[in-house]
């Protein structure tokens, strides 16, 4: 190597780039807004739970209401089908027609019939 002058030698030295340090051992400020994102997630989870609870209320799994005093328009062979919530969700997403049919059947088994002349709902609706 020929003897360089100061300027050349400085340039040569600058070709060597100092090794970078390891990343800082904390999450940087860019990610520090975790509190607000956690709140949003929590709110989302609460909303989902509320929606599930609402669906559970509309579609109770308990014993069927006693329809013996009201003549029912439901055929005797209509069976109340138990279906889990994930399966119901899948049905809603995958097969709209089947889902609609299921929901219609479910409503007819869960609520008093409006077909009968004596139906309280029918009377109330007329009023």
């Amino acid at each position: 190597m020929p003897e360089p002058n100061d300027e050349q030698f400085e340039k040569y030295l600058k070709n060597f780039r100092p090794v970078d340090p390891e990343p800082l051992p904390v999450r940087t400020k860019k990610h520090a807004g975790g509190a607000s994102s956690r709140s949003a997630l929590a709110a989302c989870a609460v909303a989902c739970l509320a929606a599930v609870a609402l669906v559970m209320i509309v579609l109770p799994r308990g014993p069927k209401p006693d329809n013996t005093q009201e003549p029912s328009a439901i055929p005797n062979n209509a069976q109340h089908t138990e279906i889990s919530m994930p399966a119901l969700t899948n049905l809603a997403l995958d097969d709209h027609a089947a889902f609609d049919k299921f929901m219609t059947d479910e409503v007819q088994t869960q609520f008093p019939s409006m077909q009968s002349e004596q139906s309280a709902l029918r009377v109330l609706a007329q009023e």
Partner: protein, 166 residues
């Protein structure tokens, strides 16, 4: 020199921009990579907590001075001198010339501490002699003088090494 970080996105950007030279400067003071790394981290973590750069007129010089102070405080608490590690890489060499990197590292290690720090601050920290002088609490003339001596020794050490390898 005016602050150079105006376009950088905060502390993280400064860390990316100056992390390498700051680490090298820290190694040139304490000689130990892990301690140097700790000192650089300590400075930046503190800055994140306190937003301490608000009042700094010269951000870059402030960072180098902070790293130096952190190491000096640490050295006081340890009350001992640690020898420079011989085999840790200090640089990413051009063209993967690791022999040249080792040659430069050894030449830097052979310099007196005060001269080594001036060289590192001026060449890789890209600080002016006025800034170097402020960081090291010396005059600008002293900084320039130490730099000239150091550069001459460095060149001599590297040439001798290269010639002995040839």
């Amino acid at each position: 020199m005016p602050p150079t970080d105006q376009s950088m996105p905060g502390i993280e950007g400064l860390y990316r921009q100056y992390g390498g030279p700051l680490l090298l400067f820290a190694i040139s003071i304490c000689g130990e990579s892990s301690r140097a790394q700790d000192a650089v981290h300590q400075v930046f973590l503190k800055l994140m907590e306190t937003d301490g750069l608000k009042n700094a007129l010269d951000t870059k010089a402030y960072l180098f001075a902070s790293v130096r102070n952190a190491l000096l405080n640490d050295q006081k608490s340890r009350q001992r001198h640690v020898a420079i590690e011989p085999d840790r890489l200090w640089f990413e060499p051009p063209d993967r010339d690791h022999a040249a990197e080792q040659n430069l590292r050894r030449a830097l290690q052979s310099l007196p501490d005060d001269q080594r720090q001036v060289v590192v601050l001026h060449i890789w920290g890209e600080l002016t002699f006025s800034q170097v002088a402020e960081i090291l609490s010396i005059s600008a003339n002293t900084a320039a003088s130490r730099y000239r001596y150091a550069l001459a020794k460095l060149r001599e050490a590297m040439l001798v090494k290269e010639n002995s390898n040839a």
